[in-house]
């Protein structure tokens, strides 16, 4: 099992760091899956995570100028590593003006991702900062736990409002209640509601637009006949929503959510080079 990769472009490095920062805000521990073409950050929906799950996918070619890997076996040329994304975030944090960053899988005392940052220095030779991040190698028999989640059969799909606005609304609501109700309809309207014994607050968004989803038989007939005004709602843990929004440092190209009434809310945030899906189950 081998892995080595290198980033030399500062813009790519910053972008990659931002993605890692976002992941670090969502999960304390997650799985990094490496294939020849892509990297995936996966959080499976175990109870320990509060049932939330995450799937983040990026094409390595958009970030690394060198990327070599050799998986566990020839027919499954993949590597699954369990790591603490905060460590990776920290290692990259001080690499803002690095000449190059190399990442390598090593096994000195234990399996580690070695991040070597080459920094400019006043002298002729560069300064090299090495961070050894311990990782756990996930055995093949457990790989099935980390399959890509399918898009749920949602009741409503809607584009999210400007994330910055949504974030500040949710942050204030967080002080008042532990759970928040997201409801939306197919007319581009969304409400965020909290309700406690003392107070209830609702923020209304409209004209958000609903993304067109092609259904399996190629037509959208299943949507017709649905009441465009009726709201589909789900009550979710407000902290998870806040973490998701707080981790977004750049505005995504597309941001939408799919709501399955009283079951789950599925967020999809798309940037040019990375896609992030986050599932927050509804609180019973």
């Amino acid at each position: 099992m081998r892995f080595r990769a290198r980033i030399v472009d500062l813009a790519c490095l910053n972008h990659f760091s931002r993605i890692i920062n976002t992941i670090a805000k969502l999960a304390k521990t997650c799985i990094l899956r490496l294939t020849v073409c892509k990297l995936y950050f996966i959080l499976s929906d175990k109870v320990a995570n509060g049932g939330a799950s995450m799937w983040c996918e990026l094409s390595q070619g958009n970030f690394f100028d060198e990327f070599q890997m050799e998986g566990v076996a020839a027919e499954r040329n993949e590597i699954y590593l369990e790591l603490v994304p905060e460590n990776l975030s920290r290692a990259l944090k001080t690499a803002q003006n690095a000449k190059a960053v190399k990442i390598k899988l090593t096994n000195k005392h234990c399996p580690c991702l070695r991040v070597a940052v080459e920094l400019p220095s006043l002298s002729s030779s560069s300064r090299i900062v090495t961070h050894d991040i311990p990782v756990g190698v996930v055995p093949r028999r457990m790989w099935n736990d980390f399959r890509e989640p399918s898009v749920p059969d949602f009741d409503v799909s809607i584009y999210l409002p400007v994330l910055k606005t949504m974030k500040s609304v949710v942050e204030r609501m967080k002080n008042l209640s532990n759970c928040i109700v997201i409801e939306a309809n197919l007319s581009g309207e969304m409400n965020l509601k909290i309700e406690t014994d003392l107070v209830s607050v609702t923020t209304h968004f409209k004209d958000l637009g609903n993304p067109p989803w092609a259904s399996e038989d190629g037509c959208q007939s299943s949507l017709q006949g649905r009441d465009l005004e009726s709201m589909a709602e789900a009550c979710i843990d407000i902290k998870k929503l806040q973490q998701l929004l707080a981790g977004q440092q750049v505005n995504p190209t597309k941001a939408l959510c799919n709501i399955v009434r009283k079951r789950i809310v599925h967020f999809i945030l798309l940037h040019e080079e990375v896609s992030l899906q986050y599932f927050i189950p509804a609180i019973a």
């Binding site: 290692a91 002298s123 961070h131």
Partner: protein, 373 residues
Amino acid sequence: LALRSVNSSRSAYACVFFSSMFFQHYCWTTVSQPCSKEKQFSLPCKLIIKSVLPVFRCVNVMEKNVEKCSISTNASAHHITFQLLCRHGVVKTYNLTFQECDPLQAVFAKHMCPNILKVHSRLLADVMIHFPSSQEEITLSVTPVKVCFKSYTEEDTDFSRTMLTEIQLSPEEFDYFQVGVDSEVTFCLKELRGLLAFSEAMSVPVSIHFDRCGKPIAFSTEDLLLEASFILATLCEAEEAAASPEAARCPRPCGRYGAEGALRCSGTCNHRGQAQRSSPATTGGRRELFVRAAAFSRPRGLRLKSSKSFTNNKCPNFVSQNSYLYKYCVFQFHSLFFGAVSYKKEAFGGTLQSLATASDTEEELGALHGSPV
């Protein structure tokens, strides 16, 4: 004026000397004690750091509001008076009781150290930033061609849970680089952060003097008016210490010392023993760590004084507050006084009584925190 402090496990010692010229006005009147044969040249006293800090709490606010700061005492009153003369005629007076104490001094012959590095504080800050703020100990490893700072690890470190960081620098990055002996010393980074912040604020180079592991490492900065040093104990490997010639010199077996930083001695009494966290700072009354046979120039030299105070109740355990002291106290003195110089100079006149010691002796405002650890 000297400010000194030691941490509770005696593994870090800090001192800052202010030349009398640092102050706008500096006056000392010796007081002769009726019962002692000679005049008392200094007034060593200790204050609780937690009491002093609130006086100098917010640098920014102080820079705008405070016009002058005066520190005064007289020997008969057992307090030191800090007076902040602020704008609009506001005067804040703080009377802090002090306790007399035996002088707290460390002796460390910097010029006897085989390894000396001098580097701008900016570089040190850039190096330390790569370590998490929770990183306790780091190891500095030098050879004539390489300098490396890395997270400290020991045999029973759980590598599967710890992230390790290592920074390699070339000797060319240092303003002065002398490595007489290859060495690897481990010291407590947390204790040092105060000096790092201070020297970065002053933007001065930092000198690092050290030897092999087990011997202390000194970080110091100086400019025309003040000199700050942090002397930290370093961890030592038992085997190395046992082999060192000094081991034979230790005259008697030393047992446990203090509640924290217990020094355990290995079989052949090697007074450095197997230091756990802190080290060989002081052993039962003797300041072995800091003893070097050398002459020191006054007043800057750190002199040897046999100090029994650490074994008696006068100097209780302290909580390490050096970093706060220097971050808040010293730095604010610095800016305060320079600010004051630019205001109209009014004579202090009779408002001050006898003040701090003259420049060739020291008043020890050894600031020590007296709460039990």
